[in-house]
């Protein structure tokens, strides 16, 4: 009887620890990094996006992805400063979040044409309406972020 009580108590303790321990992908999730996207085609025009990301999934309703940097398109260099505002998000499996793109807010200093920016957007987003990212922890505070087509970058959680 004593043994059974002890075993039951231990099971409850372990279950409690497991239930309450912090999950690495718990919201809010905020991470940032620098990335260089080379979207040039072989023998094609040079298209580079050198951007800082700030990804924030604040909760299941709100979030954003901030892209700030410089774009090289052929021989033109422009400034990129846009925020992809997210809403109506949810976790679709263990490490994947899907958010609705509410709007893309362009900063006043952004000089990148929409057509060029859309090249980057199509690499990152599921479609013009949704952002779907896989979040995979690779180190204590580092996460590999994957888009629908490929992994995109590694960022540091803060």
């Amino acid at each position: 009887m004593l043994t059974l009580t002890l075993a039951a108590l231990l099971l409850m303790i372990f279950a409690g620890i497991n239930y309450f321990k912090p999950r690495p992908d718990d919201l809010p999730f905020r991470c940032s990094t620098f990335s260089l996207y080379d979207l040039s085609r072989r023998d094609g025009e040079k298209i580079n996006f050198a951007v800082s990301h700030d990804l924030r999934f604040i909760d299941s309703k709100l979030g954003y992805l901030l892209l700030n940097g410089q774009v090289t398109f052929g021989d033109k260099v422009t400034t990129l400063n846009r925020r992809i505002a997210l809403s109506a998000g949810h976790k679709i499996d263990s490490g994947t979040y899907r958010y609705k793109i509410r709007t893309v807010i362009t900063a006043t200093n952004d000089t990148t044409p929409d057509a060029v920016f859309n090249l980057l957007l199509s690499e990152i987003t599921l479609d013009p309406g949704y952002l779907q990212l896989d979040i995979k922890q690779v180190d204590k505070k580092s996460y590999l972020i994957g888009g629908p087509l490929s992994y995109l970058f590694t960022c540091q959680r803060y």
Partner: protein
């Protein structure tokens, strides 16, 4: 069965314990000693040949007995009985056999139900090892070597059960914790690159393409003015295309590690159509 010998000593054949009635002292005999004693106690004073005893005590139980073994156990019994004030119960008839002294009163009583301890069962192999050797003279201490059994078997069993349960629960907890973290990075492979940095191949490493991967990673690092030195870790992944006109997407993250080996910062490089030069 409980045998009461000369109103001084009782012998319980179920658990092979010899008890001294006046002092309530108890001594546990080994199973072979117990079997031998029981044979003698049931002999009704008849002479038992040595061969009969060897067969009944050892051979029938798959053990190998010898004359010296028999002498050793008789000696143990005599000393144990003498220690409890019961002398000359066992008489040796030279060249014939052994019998009990019929002048000493022996009464019998049925014993209550009793669980034989695991400890006693485990003694069998040890005795079979002894049986193949000539026995040295037995000291009174060797009689005491037959362990004094405390009748707390249930408590011991409970403790063992509790320990086993704890170990099982601990193992299960450990297994699920470890497997969860192992599962996350199960497909990744780590290689050392020329220069000393380590490269983690996210999709796993195909042995046939390791050389070309090394070359590609080093090439991307060089193109982006990144070094490959100890203290840096590279995460690399590629989704190559089947067409010859499109290489496919490639991503490389060059990370700096701190002294504990954890990532401090990373720069990522994403190629839509990597060009091999």
């Amino acid at each position: 069965m409980i045998y009461i010998i000369d109103d001084q000593v009782t012998y319980n054949s179920d658990d092979c314990t010899l008890s001294h009635i006046p002092t309530q002292e108890t001594l546990s005999l080994s199973i072979s000693s117990g079997r031998l004693f029981e044979q003698l106690l049931n002999s009704q004073g008849e002479i038992l040949a040595r061969e009969t005893l060897l067969t009944e005590v050892w051979d029938k139980y798959g053990l190998r007995g010898s004359n010296s073994n028999l002498n050793q156990y008789l000696s143990i019994l005599r000393r144990a009985l003498a220690a409890y004030g019961c002398e000359n119960l066992i008489i040796t008839i030279p060249k014939i056999g052994i019998r009990l002294n019929t002048e000493i009163k022996i009464e019998r009583e049925p014993s209550p139900a009793f669980v034989v301890s695991e400890d006693q069962r485990d003694e069998e192999p040890a005795e079979s090892a002894v049986s193949s050797q000539d026995s040295p003279a037995i000291s009174p201490d060797s009689v005491m070597a037959d362990k004094l059994v405390k009748k707390s078997f249930l408590t011991v069993r409970q403790a063992i059960f509790a320990i086993v349960m704890l170990m099982l629960l601990g193992s299960a907890f450990w297994y699920f914790t470890i497997s969860e973290s192992a599962e996350k990075n199960s497909s990744m492979s780590t290689i050392k690159l020329q220069g000393g940095c380590e490269a983690v191949i996210i999709q796993g490493l195909d042995v046939f393409e390791q050389k070309s991967l090394d070359k590609q990673i080093l090439e991307i690092l060089r193109e982006n003015d990144q070094s490959c030195v100890p203290g840096r870790r590279i995460y690399f992944d590629k989704n190559t295309s089947l067409t010859t006109t499109d290489y496919g997407r490639t991503v490389l993250s060059a990370c700096n590690l701190n002294s504990s080996g954890h990532i401090v910062s990373c720069d990522s490089f994403y190629y839509l159509d990597w060009r091999m030069f």
